[in-house]
């Protein structure tokens, strides 16, 4: 398997999805070798993890988010920062040089950063490749075309692949529309969540102010995610303005960082709701969990969300969700509110309904919790395993 990140060194959902999928697949008596571009201790024992170092490099250190430069420490001790395209190329070379000695039946690669490496392996070993699409460039660019260099890699690789996995119908449709890949070559395998894997809450919430305000009858709407164009936060703030006009005791908690951070702060102030919108910057650990828990409603207003794990995490922490229809998770989660990302009035209407009606909130939560507790990655791994068996040559 070719991947770009794994927890705890992941920058987002990609690493978590790879980890959970592999963990579920490992239960099926499959041997997985996961090749990463960097060296790290993951505490994972259900598969082999190999770091693909380019020649002459002793260590690769990740920094920040997936698209940042990596630090390459060379054998002679010198240090070089490498940009994303160059990393992708180096990864391809490194993978090509290590697969020669290895035996395997199938190559499963996750997202564009690993796709060229997968094509290279196909050429060397003539083995089938399955490309797993967690997001495509137009998702990340918020429905704009995005970066043409990335598009070129995605288009070429997806056409060359033996099989494509999309994390949702939404993503499958996007692949067909953007790249003209035949629909019957694309299998939808939805992401999922392992309810037992969420770290538990403790008995005090870090958001003291919000706790107090809730006791005074305020209600809290939460969003957690990167503050980037794909996530659709400006629409949530426009909706917030309307909600606050009707239900003044509503507070909005925006957790995350990203290139829209300052823009969103100014937008909230410009709408005259600066005192009702709290920005916390990026959080992890307890303050991240407590943000889910403090909410009365979690809203994911994404413009384009291939899957979207955060609403499921919110439910896991006791907060029902409103998700945009332009998300993969809306295909699997029944007991949640759904709205088109562009329909600000309807978004406001639904938020206002929940914050003004605790029994609606509680009913949504009770039902979505039931649904949540039945979720697991086993269904995903079953589908992936059968894809492997239909493509692999020489497997038992």
């Amino acid at each position: 398997m070719l991947g770009w990140e794994l927890p705890p060194h992941n920058s987002g959902g990609l690493g978590t999805a790879c980890y959970q999928l592999c963990k579920a697949l490992a239960k099926k008596d499959l041997d997985i070798e996961f090749i990463l571009p960097y060296q790290a201790d993951h505490g994972i024992n259900f598969m082999n993890i190999t770091a693909a170092h380019p020649q002459g490099v002793s260590e690769v250190i990740r920094s920040g988010i997936a698209y940042d430069s990596y630090k390459y420490i060379k054998d002679d001790g010198s240090v070089e920062w490498v940009g994303i395209y160059e990393q992708q190329r180096l990864y391809e070379e490194a993978v090509a040089s290590i697969v020669g000695e290895k035996e395997f039946d199938i190559v499963h690669a996750h997202d564009w950063l690993t796709f060229k490496a997968a094509l290279r392996v196909k050429r060397i070993k003539n083995c089938p490749i399955i490309l797993h699409v967690h997001s495509i460039e137009s998702d990340r660019a918020g429905n704009n075309p995005g970066n043409p260099l990335v598009r070129e890699i995605e288009e070429l690789a997806l056409h060359m692949a033996d099989r494509v996995i999309a994390v949702s119908r939404h993503t499958k449709n996007a692949i067909v529309k953007e790249y003209g890949v035949p629909a019957d070559k694309i299998e939808v395998v939805h992401n999922s969540i392992e309810p037992g894997d969420l770290s538990p809450l403790d008995d005090s919430n870090a958001y003291q102010y919000l706790t107090m305000m809730k006791s005074l009858g305020y209600r809290v709407v939460v969003n957690i995610g990167r503050l980037t164009i794909q996530k659709g936060l400006p629409n949530l703030l426009y909706a917030a303005k309307t909600v606050i006009e009707h239900a003044p005791r509503t507070l909005f908690l925006i957790v995350g960082s990203g290139e829209q951070y300052y823009e969103l702060i100014e937008q909230a102030a410009g709408l005259g709701i600066g005192d009702k919108v709290l920005f916390t910057d990026f959080q992890r650990g307890k303050t991240w969990r407590d943000a889910y828990a403090i909410g009365d409603l979690f809203v994911m207003p994404s413009v384009s969300e291939p899957f979207g794990l955060t609403p499921l995490e919110a439910i896991g922490y006791g907060t029902p969700a409103l998700v945009s229809k332009q998300s993969g998770v809306s295909e699997v989660l029944r007991n949640c509110l759904k709205v088109d990302f562009w329909d600000i009035n309807e978004m406001a209407n639904q938020i206002a309904a929940v914050v003004q009606n605790d029994s609606l909130r509680d009913e949504l939560l009770a039902n979505s919790s039931q649904e949540y507790n039945q979720l697991s990655w086993d269904m995903a791994s079953d589908k992936v395993e059968s894809l492997y068996r239909s493509h692999a040559v020489g497997t038992a």
Binding site: T211, M213, A269, G270, F279
Partner: protein, 402 residues
């Protein structure tokens, strides 16, 4: 009558807000207590400014006042800086008292908290002016006769207020669109007032010292006391040259290395070498000259930026939002009678907090960046709003509906 230099210096330090997060709101009420090493540590900054500016400048001023009985200065000192001097630099506070004891220094009235309360709450504004007057009486034994509003923010309404409150004079910017063909170098009378007199800053001459002095790119650099006195004496008709600036010009905005202290050392002697020249305090100049005309200011002006308006404080949405949110709590906060809570709410009114949120870049941005302890205006806004939320929290704790 002799021509007078009216040197007026403004002394102020705010209580800067520390890095204060949403997780502090409700938990820690110490918004103003940054760790000593932090950028926004009030104690560290106060001590630095005392050492670089207040102490060396006052030492010189005291010598000059003793040497030249005709040398006069006017000072406004905010309540928030007096408190900080009391706590962290009693020596510097004593040096201000020593200046006042010469009898050649006049203190000017203003709001205790250096706030923009006049534009948001008349009752709160009057309370802060009263607090300031009492503090000045207690610490310096003087009762101010002349008023200056925060940032020299001024309009006709303020003049009417000051006239009724019994002040003899008021200060503002000598802004060209207001003065039109007239010169700032005279005493004026605000429209709609009777007894009040208006002194308008000569910003060209003031900024030669306050902003341009250390700029080696400036065509007039280096500026000497001799050259400066010569410029002033070229205006044959003028009665008074209103040089208004931040006190911290001396040693802090203009560093010692720029030669600013030498300039100060030589200015009284150079100017007074002509027997038709003198210095006057703000009251003296008002008592000495009849007003030459009326000044009408219907829209608020200030002494800041190229716009000379309040846009550096309330020009963007973050500033507008946060200041309105703060004043909206007035009745609730005052109603608690909790002196600590009321004082924290007042410290949040200090105009500097809103100045740090300013997003005007380019020409003005340089100076904003220089005066802000925060990396970005957004950081300033977030800290402020979290402190605001803590005030809300403390009200809620007392059972006040928020």
């Amino acid at each position: 009558m002799k021509k007078a230099i009216v040197l007026y210096l403004h002394v102020h330090q705010p209580y800067r807000i520390r890095h204060y997060t949403v997780f502090d709101s409700g938990l820690n009420h110490n918004y103003f207590d940054a760790s000593y090493q932090a950028q926004e540590s009030n104690e560290r900054i106060l001590k630095k400014v005392a050492e670089k500016s207040y102490l060396p400048t006052n030492a010189r001023l005291l010598k000059l006042l003793r040497k030249h009985p005709d040398f006069k200065i006017s000072l406004s000192i905010t309540g928030t800086v007096i408190e900080q001097l009391e706590k962290w630099s009693p020596d510097a506070l004593q040096s201000f008292k020593d200046l006042c004891n010469t009898g050649q220094v006049e203190l000017v009235a203003e709001t205790y908290h250096h706030s923009l309360a006049f534009f948001y709450s008349r009752a709160e504004f009057e309370m802060q002016v009263d607090m300031h007057r009492r503090k000045i009486q207690e610490v310096f034994g003087q009762t101010p006769q002349v008023f200056r509003n925060t940032e020299l923010a001024y309009n006709n309404d303020l003049a009417i207020w000051a006239d009724r409150a019994g002040y003899k004079g008021i200060l503002t910017e000598g802004w060209d669109p207001i003065l039109e063909w007239r010169s700032p170098n005279f005493v004026y009378r605000p429209t709609y007032t009777n007894q009040l007199r208006l002194l308008m800053k000569n910003y060209k001459l003031s900024d030669d010292i306050a902003f341009r002095f250390g700029d080696s790119e400036w065509a007039e650099w280096p500026l000497t006391a001799d050259k400066f006195s010569h410029w002033l004496s070229e205006d044959k008709d003028a009665t008074n040259f209103n040089l208004f600036m931040d006190y911290e010009t001396f040693g802090e905005h203009q560093w010692k290395e720029s030669g600013i202290f030498d300039f100060l050392d030589h200015l009284p002697k150079e100017w007074l070498s002509n027997e038709d020249h003198t210095f006057m305090s703000v009251s003296e100049v008002i008592d000495s000259f009849e007003p030459v005309g009326q000044i009408d200011v219907s829209k608020t002006i200030t002494w800041a930026d190229t716009e000379r308006d309040l846009s550096a404080w309330i020009g963007n949405a973050m500033q507008d939002n946060s200041i309105h949110a703060l004043y909206a709590l007035q009745d609730k906060v005052i109603g608690t009678n909790d002196l600590e809570l009321i004082e924290d709410w007042r410290r949040l009114q200090t105009s500097d907090h809103f100045y740090y949120m300013c997003t005007k870049w380019f020409n003005d941005g340089d100076i904003h960046a220089y005066f802000s302890p925060y990396e970005t205006p957004y950081e300033a806004y977030i800290n402020f709003m979290n402190a605001f939320r803590d005030v809300q929290y403390r009200l809620a704790e007392k059972g006040v509906d928020v």
